[in-house]
C-alpha cells in the first residue's frame, strides 16, 4: 500500500539515488588511474560531466519533490506481496539456472509469476511453463545454435545417454 505520503517519499528516495549515483561516479572518476596523457581529452572528462549532471538533477528532483509534490496527486496502491513474488522468482532463476537448467528454473519462474497474477492452478501452470521452456530450449539450442543451459545436474545424464 502506498499512499500520497509514500509516493512523496519515493520521489525523495529517487532524487537521493540519482544524487548518490552522481557522487559515486565522481569518486570513481577521481580515483581512476591516469593514462593517455597523449590524448587531449582523456577518459575522465565525460564521466565527470555525467557525474556533475546527475548531482545537479538529483538536487533539482529534491527541490521538485518538496515544492510541487508527486505527479499522481492521490497516490498509488502497490501490491507488495505480488511484486516480491515476481522479483524473487527472477532471482531464484538466476541462482538455479546453471545447476537445474533452463527448463526447471524457467518453469519455477513461470509458476511464481502466474501466482503473483492471481492464478492458483499450480499444476496447470507448471505444465505450461514446462512446455514453453522445453520448446524454447529445443528451438534455440538445436535450431538456432544458441546455448540455453541444460543444467549441470543433468549433463552427466545426457552424456550417459549419448554413449
Amino acid at each position: 500500500m502506498t499512499t500520497e505520503k509514500g509516493l512523496r517519499l519515493g520521489e525523495v528516495a529517487f532524487g537521493l539515488a540519482v544524487l548518490a549515483l552522481g557522487v559515486f561516479i565522481a569518486f570513481e572518476t577521481w580515483t581512476m588511474p591516469g593514462v593517455g596523457a597523449a590524448t587531449t581529452v582523456g577518459p575522465r572528462l565525460f564521466p565527470g560531466l555525467v557525474a556533475a549532471g546527475l548531482i545537479l538533477v538529483g538536487l533539482w528532483l529534491q527541490l521538485e519533490a518538496v515544492t510541487t509534490g508527486p505527479v499522481k496527486a492521490d497516490g498509488i496502491e502497490i501490491d507488495w506481496p505480488s511484486f516480491s513474488l515476481v522479483a524473487s522468482g527472477l532471482l531464484l532463476q538466476i541462482v538455479l539456472l546453471e545447476t537445474l537448467g533452463w527448463i526447471l528454473a524457467g518453469t519455477l519462474l513461470f509458476v511464481m509469476t502466474a501466482r503473483a497474477f492471481g492464478s492458483r492452478r499450480h499444476l496447470t501452470n507448471a505444465l505450461i511453463g514446462l512446455a514453453l521452456t522445453t520448446l524454447t530450449l529445443v528451438v534455440f539450442d538445436l535450431g538456432l545454435d544458441l546455448e540455453l543451459p541444460v543444467g549441470s545436474l543433468f549433463e552427466p545424464l545426457l552424456d550417459a545417454l549419448q554413449k
Binding site: 509516493l7 519515493g10 529517487f14 540519482v18 549515483l21 552522481g22 561516479i25 581512476m32 588511474p33 593514462v35 593517455g36 590524448t39 587531449t40 581529452v41 582523456g42 577518459p43 572528462l45 565525460f46 564521466p47 555525467v50 549532471g53 546527475l54 533539482w60 528532483l61 521538485e64 505527479v71 498509488i76 496502491e77 502497490i78 501490491d79 505480488s82 511484486f83 513474488l85 515476481v86 522479483a87 522468482g89 527472477l90 532471482l91 538466476i94 539456472l97 546453471e98 533452463w102 524457467g106 519462474l109 513461470f110 509469476t113 502466474a114 501466482r115 497474477f117 492471481g118 492464478s119 501452470n125 505450461i128 511453463g129 521452456t133 534455440f140 545454435d145 544458441l146 546455448e147 540455453l148
Partner: protein, 498 residues
Amino acid sequence: MDTLSALLHGFTVALTPYNLMWSAIGVTLGTAIGVLPGIGPALTVALLLPVTYNLDPTSAFIMFAGIFYGAMYGGSTTSILLNTPGESASIVTALDGHAMARKGRGAQALATAAIGSFVAGTIATVALTFVAPLMVRIALAFGPAEYFALMVLSLTTVTAVLGDSLPRGLASLFFGLALGLVGIDLQTGQARFSLGVPELLDGIDVVVVAVGLFAVGETLYNAARHRYEPEEMYDLKGSKWMSKEDWARSWKPWLRGTLIGFPIGALPAGGSEIPTFLSYLTEKRLSKHPEEFGHGAIEAVAGPEAANNASAAGVLAPLLSLGLPTSATAAIMLAAFQQYGLQPGPLLFENNSSLVWGLIASLYIGNVLLLVLNLPMAGVWVKLLAIPRPWLYAGILIFATMGAYTLNNNLVDLVILWVIGLIGFGMRVLDIPVAPCIVGLILGPMAEQQFRRALAISQGDLSVFVTHPISLGLLLTGLLLVVVPVLLRRRRAKYTTA
C-alpha cells in the same frame, strides 16, 4: 536516377522467395508480439533479436523491418480494444479508439488504423527512399564536431519533449549516459566502472536495458497493480467494414497525419509522440464535429495512427543515413546493426548498399503484407488479447530472461536485467520516462567519441563546436528546445496565479 536504380536493386534482393519468407515471418511475429498488452515496438524488436542471430545480415534486417512495422500495427489493436497503449505514441490512438470500441465500432477503428497505417507507411517509405540519400550527402560534409552537436540535439529533444517534468526526463537521460560509461574506453583502453567484473568490460548491452525496463519493469508494475486496475476489453461485433461516411471522414486525416508525421520523424528532433499529438489537435480544429473528439471520433484514430506510422518510417532516415537513433525502437535497431558489426551512416550506403536498399524495399513489401494480414485476420489477433494475464506475463518473463541470457551466455546479464527491472518498476511508479535512458545509453558513448575526436583534431580547442556554423546551429536549436518550454510553463504559471 541513382536512387531509383538502387531501389530497384533493393527490390530484387527483397523479392527473392527466401527474403520474402523472412519478411512474412517478420510481419507476422511482429504483429503477434506487438498485439500483446504491455509490449510496444521497442520491446518486440528487442525480444525477437535472438531469433535473427544466425541469419545473414540482409535477411535479418529484412525481417527486422517486418517486425518493426508489424509491431506498430499490433500496438494500435491493443490500444483500441484494451486501452493499454504499449508505448507513448499510441496514447492518442487509445483516446478515441477505445471510445469507438466501447460504442461497438471497434472493427471500424481497427480498419481505419490499418488502412491509415498502410497509406501513411507507403507514402512515408517513398519519402524515406528519397530523403535518406539526401541526408547521406549532407552527412558526408559532417565532421566530428557536427556529429557531436547533432547527438546533443537529439538527446535534448528526446528528453525535453517527453513527460511533463524536465528534471525527470534529465534523470532518465543521465542514468542512461551513466550506464553507457561502463566498460573499456575505446580510445585509451582504460576500464571504467566495471567494478572488477570482467563481463562488464564489454559494457552494458542496450538490449538488456530495454528488456529490463520494458518487460521486467512492466511485469513487476502490473503484478503490483493488477488487483486495482480491472481491464475492460471490447470484442469486435457488428459490421466489420467501414461505411461510406467512415471513408469520407478518414482519408484526409490519413494524408494530413502522414504530412505531419514523416518530417518530424525524419528530423533529429525525432520521436512519434509530437506528431501524434499534433495530428490529433489538427483534426480536432478542422473537424465539423469537434464535440465528438474524446467520445469516438474516427478522425482522431485515422490521423494520429497515420502520423505514428509515417514518423516511424521517418525515424529510419536519420538512423540509416546518420546512425542517429531518435526513438527507443530506433536505439534497439542500432544495437542490432552493431551486433552485426555494421555502423549505419554514409558508409553503410556505400559498402552495404544491397542491405540498405533491400531493407528499404522490404518496407514497401511489409506494408502490403500487413494490410493483407490485418484486415481479414483482425479477429485472430483479437484472440491473442484474451490470453489469461498470469500466463501472458509469466511468458513475457520467460522470453525476457531467455533474450538476456543468450546475448552473451552469462548470468551477469541476468543480474543486470534484474536490477534494471527493479529500477524500471520504480520509474513506472514515479512516472519517469524511459526512452531518454535507452537513447542516452546508446548515444552517450557515440557522442563521447565524436567529442574527443573533434577536440583531437582542434588540438583541445573547445571553440570548434561554436565556430563551425552547422554545429553552432544544432547546439542552439537544442538549447532553445530546452529553454522555451520552461519559459512558456513559467509564463503560464504566472498568468494563472495573477
